[in-house]
């Protein structure tokens, strides 16, 4: 897919900015997001290629604006809804409205 994610050789993004004493996570939600993605991957909610495709399919403006774990959060939500693990109504409610399926 020839998308905005295919960044090799693009111009105009500026200098690389290494960070001194970088923490593993910059906010608690980043760690939760990583772990949620890996946990759902581990139970077979999507394969590594499907997960990667789900990030590449983010709309270009959203892709460029989101941080790394921000993209993971968007992928997680999109895949969970697409694969039927949770409903958009449950996200809106902030709670489960139906029991989960046996894994």
């Amino acid at each position: 897919m020839d998308g905005v994610h295919d960044m090799g050789g693009m111009h105009g993004f500026g200098k690389v900015e290494p960070e001194q004493n970088e923490p593993v996570f910059h906010a608690a939600w980043e760690g939760r997001c990583l772990a949620l993605n890996r946990a759902m991957g581990a139970i077979g909610a999507w394969t590594i290629d499907e997960g990667r495709a789900a990030i590449e399919e983010l709309p270009p403006a959203q892709y460029l604006a989101a941080s790394y774990y921000g993209k993971w959060a968007l992928r997680l939500q999109n895949m969970l809804v697409k694969r039927g693990y949770i409903g958009a109504d449950e996200i809106a409610a902030g709670h489960a409205l139906r029991p989960g399926e046996p894994l």
Binding site: H26, W29, R32, L36, Y85
Partner: protein, 213 residues
């Protein structure tokens, strides 16, 4: 110093502004719903996060490099099949199918990147730093590697060829840097202290012996 401060401020604006509240809320909601439906166990997430914060990091790769510097048979095995060689050291947190070690020589310097996303050898280096995942690194590493190295304060002689390896979900790379001179007879543990994360990505060199004396 000025640059670090500027960067921190930019970083704060980015991470702790609107994205923080939006993403914090989004992730918390997804975790709540998934836990209520029985798909995930929050305690298992805690354990996974703790592993990445404390146990899985570049110290593993440093052990691999130091062993390769001190043990010719291991070095040979590492360059032949890094996936298998690191498993003999008890590294089992595989993230891709293949790990490939690329060796620096006096004439060749290797660098790794993932232009398409941010593939990285988690099993030996832990989670990637923000700069590795950033658009500037992903875009420029392949067409201006010397410029990127300059951003890290590294200037290599013009006669050293730079080879850039583009990672994929299946194939990930680790750079085997050159063993610093003046380290004859050093233990693997002492050698490992010279191995920086960035020298295993190719955006740095190992420390000099005097830096850890």
């Amino acid at each position: 110093m000025t640059r670090a401060m500027t960067h921190d401020r930019d970083h704060d604006d980015h991470e702790h502004g609107s994205e923080l509240s939006e993403m914090q809320l989004r992730v918390r909601t997804l975790e709540t719903v998934l836990a209520e439906k029985g798909y995930i166990d929050p305690a298992a997430l805690d354990a996974m996060i703790e592993a990445y914060e404390t146990r899985i990091g570049p110290h593993i790769g440093a052990r691999v490099v130091a062993k390769a510097w001190g043990d010719p048979a291991f070095k040979h095995a590492l360059l032949e099949d890094a996936t298998r060689a690191v498993q003999t050291l008890g590294v089992i947190n595989r993230v891709g199918d293949h790990l490939i070690a690329v060796e620096n020589t006096p004439k060749l310097h290797n660098m790794i990147v993932c232009t398409l996303c941010s593939c990285y050898p988690w099993e030996v280096l832990g989670l990637p730093p923000v700069w590795y995942k950033s658009a500037p690194y992903r875009s420029r590493a392949v067409n201006d590697p010397r410029g990127v190295l300059a951003d890290f304060g590294l200037a290599l002689p013009a006669d050293i060829q730079i080879r850039v390896w583009d990672s994929t979900a299946e194939t990930r790379f680790i750079v085997l840097p050159m063993r610093p001179s003046g380290t004859d007879g050093w233990s693997e543990e002492k050698l490992a202290a010279l191995v920086t994360r960035n020298c295993m990505i190719g955006t740095g060199l190992p420390k000099e012996p005097r830096e850890i004396a």
